[in-house]
Amino acid sequence: MRPDMLARIQLSSPPRRGQAMEVRLLIQHPMETGFRYDFSGTSTAKNVIHSLSAEYGGRVVFRARMGSGVAANPLLQFWVLPNESGDIRVVWEDDQGVQGQVSAWVEVLPP
């Protein structure tokens, strides 16, 4: 886990039981395509977040496999049905093997 891999989760507020909750995830990452050259003319190695998964309520609720076609600083928006209060925890790994994670507390209100 690297602390400099910044990420943020935003939840549609307030999450109510049984009502779809939007999760917006933003990760700071260059998503290097491997087609780029630096000033000295050497090509930069491909480095993208290749897999990501979000866990909530004891199960994986969202999984993503990404390639270089995803823009730098990837933004992912998906929906989850909130049933009980708990952590939503997202983990990911890039091509260099660097792992990152971010989590947010989901306080579920009655409908």
């Binding site: 009502q19 779809a20 909750m21 395509t33 087609f35 780029r36 050259y37 309520g57 199960r59 994986v60 609720v61 969202f62 999984r63 993503a64 496999r65 990404m66 390639g67 270089s68 076609g69 995803v70 823009a71 730098a72 990837p74 933004l75 992912l76 928006q77 998906f78 929906w79 989850v80 049905l81």
Partner: protein
């Protein structure tokens, strides 16, 4: 190469150098020829097992005109009740002009409540973007969106 040094070369050396230059220039020109649009059937074939996905239920939402191909907002919405019996299992984003045509793959389930995913993608020029969707009954669906890209990503120095 300075002019003085080239003048001191023998004719044979000069000719050899010229041929080398031509060879060097021809190779990357072939590699970087403007990419032809790939065939959709070849792109979704490996996912669907050769079956043509039905062009229904899936809508891809993108701006019609994207100023910059480096970051194009893209949302996929599927007409699905997202119940235990009928839900979206997989969403695959495909591009027929990017050097790597599979942009991303998402896995959803009945707990997703809404069959909707959004992200931002890189697009290498004006093209059609396809979302390939597999529902829980194993069937494949597709939806496309046409995007006009003024400044493309990937192949230039970006």
């Amino acid at each position: 190469m300075s002019e003085a040094s080239s003048l001191s070369w023998s004719r044979r050396q000069g000719l050899g150098g010229l041929l080398a230059c031509v060879g060097w220039a021809a190779a990357p020109a072939r590699a970087q020829a403007p990419p032809a649009n790939l065939d959709w059937a070849q792109l979704y074939g490996p996912f669907t097992g050769g079956i043509n996905p039905t062009p229904e239920r899936v809508s891809v939402v993108t701006p019609r005109l994207a100023d910059n191909g480096l970051s194009v907002p893209l949302a996929v919405r599927v007409d699905s009740p997202m119940s235990e019996r009928d839900h979206v299992r997989r969403v695959v984003l495909l591009s027929n002009r990017n050097p790597r045509p599979v942009i991303a793959e998402f896995e959803l389930g009945p707990w997703s409540a809404k069959a909707e995913v959004a992200t931002r993608v890189r697009l290498n020029g004006s093209q059609e973007v396809m979302a390939l969707v597999q529902t829980s009954d194993g069937r494949w669906w597709r939806g496309t969106a046409e995007v006009e890209v003024t400044e493309s990503a990937c192949m230039d120095a970006s």
